[in-house]
């Protein structure tokens, strides 16, 4: 077993190193590491075909509980996460195809009469709200693009607004089960519902959002206000209606979005699993595209789905299963349990800051996937409620990533878009705005968790 432990750790560390340095594409890294775990750890070291079968977790797909009624298996490849993310991606690509996001951004800009400070506040709120339901990369892709276009037209510096949008997208993502991949992993692995997240991480994220909006307002209002005064009078404002490529498709995509949101909000009552909702999202998006656009557009949208990320998850879950099956994660759990002396306050503080700091520099998805079995073991050995640890982990991993330009995918996309538009943002400029905001929000989260659960 010692050899299996060592091999599992070495494979995990090599995988993590390769993910950080991106020497290979992320999905190739995790798939190779997953294969190595199967062959070396389960095959050569443990001689366990059962461990391989358990890790592949294919049986879960044919159980009723996986699709309806709950009780899905959480060990090994978390197919619910993968199917759900795939479905949401199809839905979001479909919405983008109809021009929904650009329309929404421009409509709001028009509603506030293109006033820059009001734009900052509205776009922060919209970024957080949209990220509660769709992935933060998509939110930033559209929001930052519109902000940059508006900045050119209205002559203001888009950097502070885009940075605030990035922060709020990550914060909004922490509020729900489907907002950020770590939450989907935590929710599906531990059997929490959308509603569970909203009432726990969501409530805390809501408080943090108000504070952080105030922070960005104070920090950025002066230059933005000045830009309003300097704005020339002969500006031609963009028309939101021009963004709608197909009215039928646009209305259809809004209906699809609202239906999926309703299904997510009520899935603890309807007992539909997130995997089922993911499949449903795919089906109704395709129907909408077929009816409104045609088969060629379905192909275009399906081609845009980020299959690499789905494969990334498959490999990652196998590697984490290797660590779990060999008992490595139980050792980590015992260590944190010992350091904290079983004190729930210390445990919350350790988990939230550890996950926040690590997520600021490394990919938070492998970290969250690794930490789920750790907090399960900690809860079992110390008697601390698993829920408390789960919300702590979710908040730490989701929000910690905002601190640096490499901490989360939305940060990468946002900073890339503004740099391409002629506004390069290095570490210094990024951290100047978003690192203090991260520290403030993590502190708020920690204190809220103390008050609520300790």
């Amino acid at each position: 077993m010692l050899a299996a432990k060592i091999c599992a750790i070495v494979i995990f560390l090599l995988m993590f190193g390769a993910i950080i340095t991106e020497v290979l594409e992320r999905h190739i890294t995790t798939l190779v590491a997953g294969l190595a775990t199967m062959v070396v750890v389960f095959g050569i070291c443990m001689h366990s075909v059962d461990a391989i079968i358990k890790t592949l977790n294919l049986k879960a797909l044919v159980t009723l509980g996986f699709w309806y009624g709950g009780g899905e298996e959480s060990f090994g490849i978390n197919w619910a996460t993968i199917i759900f993310i795939a479905g949401m991606t199809v839905m979001v690509e479909g919405m983008g195809h109809s021009g929904f996001f650009e329309w929404l951004c421009l409509k709001i800009a028009k509603l506030v009469n293109y006033k820059t400070v009001a734009l900052l506040v509205c776009f922060m709120a919209m970024s957080a709200f949209l990220a509660m339901f769709i992935d933060s990369i998509t939110v930033i892709m559209f929001l930052a693009a519109v902000t940059i276009t508006l900045a050119k037209t209205l002559r203001f510096d888009p950097v502070p607004i885009v940075l605030a949008e990035i922060f709020c997208a990550n914060l909004g993502g922490s509020a729900t089960m489907c907002g950020d991949p770590p939450n989907i992993i935590i929710g599906t692995a531990l059997g929490y519902s959308f509603f569970d997240f909203v009432t726990n991480t969501g409530a805390i994220a809501g408080i943090a959002l108000i504070v952080v909006m105030l922070y960005f307002f104070i920090v950025m209002r002066k230059p933005l206000k000045q830009s309003e005064l300097d704005r020339p009078a002969d500006i031609v404002y963009p028309n939101p209606a021009d963004c709608i490529k197909n009215k039928k498709g646009f209305i259809g995509s809004v209906i699809v979005f609202l239906t999926i949101v309703a299904l997510l909000v009520t899935h603890s009552i309807t007992e539909l699993s997130v995997a089922t909702i993911g499949v449903f999202a795919t089906i109704i998006t395709i129907i909408n595209l077929l009816v409104s656009f045609g088969f060629d557009d379905v192909k275009v949208v399906l081609k845009k789905v980020d299959y690499k990320t789905l494969l990334f998850f498959v490999g990652l879950f196998v590697v984490v299963a290797g660590l779990e099956e060999t008992g490595c994660l139980a050792l980590v759990a015992n260590f944190i349990g010992k350091v904290s002396g079983g004190n729930i306050l210390v445990m919350i503080a350790i988990i939230i800051w550890l996950s926040a700091i690590l997520s600021a520099f490394v990919d938070n998805i492998p970290f969250a996937a690794t930490m789920v079995p750790v907090i399960q073991a900690m809860a079992a050995s110390t008697g601390v409620p698993l829920e408390t640890l789960a919300w702590t982990l979710a908040l730490g991993t989701d929000i910690g990533g905002s601190a640096t330009p490499i901490g989360a995918s939305a940060n990468v996309v946002g900073t890339s878009l503004i740099a391409k538009a002629g506004h390069p943002v290095g570490w210094g400029k990024y951290c100047k705005y978003n690192a203090p905001a991260t520290v403030i929000v993590i502190t708020i989260c920690m204190l809220s968790l103390f008050v609520k659960y300790a």
Binding site: T21, I137, V412, G422, P424, G426
Partner: protein, 206 residues
């Protein structure tokens, strides 16, 4: 034949005088030479600070402090490289003849017909000697500068093209400028271009 587009790409080692050779060839053939100054103009046209382009041009991204997601990168080096490569394609698509110095042009424009790929090298001692004179440093220091600069150019080329930099079979003509200097190397290239034109004319005439 005169109107037919020719794209000459010139890869060069530091101290090989590749830039001066490119200028000489450009002068003789009356072709624009795209080098650092030209890309400065590109950045102005794109509304980007030329200093930003200069700082990150022909450099490989730092893997530890930058990330890539879904085709987006927040590495300034990646962004400048993308900008430069797009510009190279844009100019090549105009149908005008031109010379491009460095910047993976032989790889970026590999699908364009009438591409002549040249690489200029020189002996290590010669390169060090030239840089020592140009930068007013001693030979040892110059050798270090040359090594460092070539290492950077090689890493940049390999990162964006996936191909080893300066390997002969990636080019149509490799010239060592140590003995023949700027004029000799330019003469060789001009002769090659002449022969290339003749060969292509023959093919077309047939």
């Amino acid at each position: 034949m005169q109107d037919k587009q020719i794209i000459i790409t010139i890869g060069r080692e530091y101290g090989s005088l590749g830039h001066l050779i490119a200028e000489k060839v450009g002068e003789e053939l009356e072709l624009p030479v795209l080098d650092r100054d030209f890309f400065r103009q590109m950045s102005i046209n794109h509304g980007v600070d030329p200093k930003f382009v200069r700082e990150h041009d022909e450099k490989k991204r730092n893997l530890f402090i930058t990330r890539q997601r879904r085709g987006y990168s927040n590495s300034m080096e990646d962004i400048v490289a993308e900008m430069v490569f797009d510009y190279e394609r844009e100019l090549a698509e105009t149908g005008e003849s031109l010379i491009i110095v460095g910047r993976c042009a032989e790889w970026v424009l590999r699908d364009f017909p009438n591409l002549i790929r040249i690489f200029i090298t020189a002996d290590d001692d010669t390169k060090a000697q030239r840089i020592a004179e140009m930068e007013n440093v001693d030979l040892e220091e110059a050798a270090k500068i040359v090594k460092k600069k070539d290492k950077k150019r090689g890493a940049y080329h390999e990162y964006y093209t996936g191909l080893k930099w300066g390997v002969a079979n990636e080019y149509d003509l490799c010239v060592n400028s140590s003995e023949i200097g700027v004029d000799g190397a330019a003469k060789l290239i001009l002769q090659y271009v002449e022969d290339w034109k003749e060969a292509h004319c023959t093919e077309e005439c047939e």
